[in-house]
Symmetry: D3
Subunit: 69 residues, 6 copies
């Protein structure tokens, strides 16, 4: 699969929080840091996500904010 997004890292699902309409999945990347994805609970079910699954984490560059302290 090729896609039009600049950010693509691989990790393992570390936690799932299932809500009424929206849900949250956390993904451990490189064993060091955690990324979070909020999606509809329908998408969570259709992905059949469970802890330990390998997933790709994709973000379009326009949605990335840089900050300097």
């Amino acid at each position: 699969m090729k896609h039009g997004a600049r950010n693509d890292v691989t990790g393992k699902v570390s936690a799932i929080l299932k809500g009424d309409v929206m849900s949250l999945a956390k993904v451990k990347v490189k064993g060091t840091f955690e990324l979070s994805s909020a999606m509809t609970t329908e998408s969570l079910k259709s992905l059949k996500l469970k802890k330990g699954d390998r997933v790709r984490v994709i973000v379009k560059a326009v949605n990335v904010l840089l900050v300097r302290d």
Copy 2:
């Protein structure tokens, strides 16, 4: 600084591509992978970004897409 976004990693600016209205900055994280941020060229200037700068890369969880192959 505390913010309402679930994704926040630190890295070093590795490349800058300056365009007419939009620009692209790449950030090397943990020395292993690269993230990209598209922002207005005005933001790039106001941030005074240059290669080697340390920045935080912030993404709201709703903008993160999970994919399984």
Copy 3:
């Protein structure tokens, strides 16, 4: 703190609606109009937001839609 977003206004938290996975915070700006931010409930907790707090409201320019009637 400097960030790569073109929109940044300051206001006071006027209401908080806490949900299971997602929550909503409203911010009164200049005493005249109200902006709303939807975030994960985790982010709401980590920000320790409560009514009356001063916050900055940040939006990337790509997420702003102009409309004329």
Copy 4:
């Protein structure tokens, strides 16, 4: 027109920066602060935006980030 977005303020176009594919329009709100919208140059043309035009500035709540210093 009614829409499914929580943020909607009215202002006057104060500046337009036209690029090859993306363009930027700035809108002065309440005479006090400025908001920016990045859109495709095609959208800019189809809106026939020019300085002084009254427009509505619309943002979905999920795209609003709250920050406290």
Copy 5:
């Protein structure tokens, strides 16, 4: 109404899933495929959406991801 978004199709509301803070509405387009919009439950109420209503489905081009298998 004219707006600064490149994607605009018309359809009929086919399902509504109301959650605590966020809700989901599905829209049948051309009788053939279904699009989904996640919005705040407040927006759902303010739109007074119900099954069968005709709506326009609007998406900014920057939020559209292309994928090839």
Copy 6:
């Protein structure tokens, strides 16, 4: 490929507008309407998109705005 987005339609690339940093691709869906995706020019190149290619058009539900006139 399975992904955590509620909107996924298939179409054919009908036009490409290549800019300095950002580019625009249009996709004809069902032979009837056109969708547009703005991406970095780097993504356009990495996808090797050209007119006539079949692609999937993916949008997260949170980025879809409903409007009624």
